[in-house]
């Protein structure tokens, strides 16, 4: 029943339930929300993007994705809350209204659907895709080591059994390739934001090398402003910095690819917690996590709106 509004945003859901809610949002807010399929996963599940747009063609756009690491359930759950928030704030919140009058937002709520289903059915701790690795008994590639950005370098494993296996070649994973093709074909994406969990970090490039990006000063200041917004709601503290300085050198990551392909505002969020729950953040924390994350995202989106390049 597409007219009902029974989706519980404070609970974890199966892929089918999330996909049903995407339909519901597209139907309920058809003036600004539409659902696009940008490809399909290795196991032939659709990759759906919600497009938030008030019209116009090929407007500057913001890309937002969640769940590339399937076990990080709070990211998919936050993304669907954020989708609803964008839809309901349009026409109510002047900031989001002006943003959407100027730009589009593309939101991929489940970047790795095969992995997500696998976490529900077989192994809750699964992180990778589910592609078969030739010559190995182990499955899957770490899709955040599979982008064409220092591919195969430090911080990625060449062992197919490793949780950080980079895959046989850059973009070998159809889940990654689909996003790359979509963004390249669009040609006007101005920000690339990706949601991960956990450990409360807000990071900008680079990960495959430990040098500062050309826009370091601006990205660092913006990251700190976003972290401050996040903290303002429930006091959750985020550490801000480049991937290399904040965690460790990691090659083949998505925001390095987006930055090197001209998308200046490229950020990765690592949402709550600090380790006590790992990837099993209690459902009661989904909405608070999404709320605070939204404030950080909004800060970045506003800056992107006001700083054309």
């Amino acid at each position: 029943d597409r007219s009902s509004n029974s989706f519980n945003f404070g609970a974890y859901h199966t892929l089918d339930e999330i996909y049903a809610e995407l339909d519901h949002l597209a139907s309920q807010y058809s003036n600004i929300v539409s659902k696009l399929q940008i490809g399909e996963s290795y196991e032939k599940r659709p990759l759906y993007v919600l497009k938030f747009s008030t019209g116009g063609s090929n407007r500057p756009a913001i890309w937002l994705d969640a769940g590339i690491h399937s076990r990080e359930w709070v990211t998919q759950a936050s993304a669907i809350w954020i989708a609803k928030k964008i839809a309901t704030d349009y026409g109510q919140d002047p900031s989001i209204t002006s943003l959407l009058n100027k730009m589009d937002i593309f939101l991929l709520t489940v970047s790795n659907p095969d992995g997500y289903v696998f976490t529900h059915t077989t192994n809750r701790m699964w992180r990778k895709t589910r592609s078969k690795n030739k010559g190995s008994v182990c499955f899957g590639v770490d899709p955040n080591r599979n982008w064409d950005a220092g591919f195969g370098g430090p911080g990625a494993s060449k062992n197919p059994c490793s949780d950080s296996y980079h895959g046989p070649s850059a973009n070998s994973e159809v889940e990654v390739r689909s996003v790359v093709n979509f963004i390249k074909n669009h040609g006007n994406v101005r920000a690339f934001l990706t949601l991960h969990s956990y450990s409360q970090l807000l990071m900008y490039p680079y990960g495959y090398k430990c040098t500062e990006p050309a826009d370091y000063a601006e990205l660092d200041a913006l990251g700190r402003a976003a972290a401050s917004s996040i903290r303002s709601l429930y006091g959750t503290t985020f550490t801000v910095g480049s991937i290399c300085t904040t965690i460790y050198q990691a090659s083949g990551g998505s925001i390095d690819w987006s930055y090197d392909n001209g998308i200046k505002y490229s950020f990765a969020f690592e949402l709550r917690d600090t380790g006590n729950y790992g990837f099993l953040l209690p459902a009661s924390q989904i909405i608070p996590t999404a709320e605070e994350t939204w404030l950080g995202l909004k800060k970045i989106m506003e800056h992107v709106r006001d700083s054309p390049y």
Partner: protein, 94 residues
């Protein structure tokens, strides 16, 4: 559905580069089937690792033998998973 009975998550705090290197060695020991949630990088960053039940003693012995400080973040991962499953069933009914 794979179970994680007795799997522990350890937080390891390193004091110097040498201890980081020891953890990187630990990371390379595939037979231990460790799942690093936060990988060893620099002494400033703690390392979180899920250790399967049958390797908990071996990993702790390794850490203790080198005097590397650690604490238990999650005593039994399956308990947390069971709680999550229970929450999901409750929410489903609701």
């Amino acid at each position: 559905l794979q179970t994680f009975v007795g799997h522990q998550v350890l937080r390891i705090k390193t004091r110097n580069e040498e201890e980081v290197k020891k953890l990187q060695l630990l990371e390379s020991l595939e037979h231990l089937e460790l799942d690093f949630w936060r990988n060893p990088s620099t002494p400033a960053h703690p390392v979180d690792v899920r250790v399967p039940a049958n390797n908990v003693q071996a990993v702790k012995a390794f850490l203790e033998s080198y005097g590397i400080e650690y604490s238990i973040l999650i005593e039994d991962l399956q308990v947390v998973l069971d709680q999550e499953k229970q929450d999901m069933e409750y929410n489903q009914q609701k």
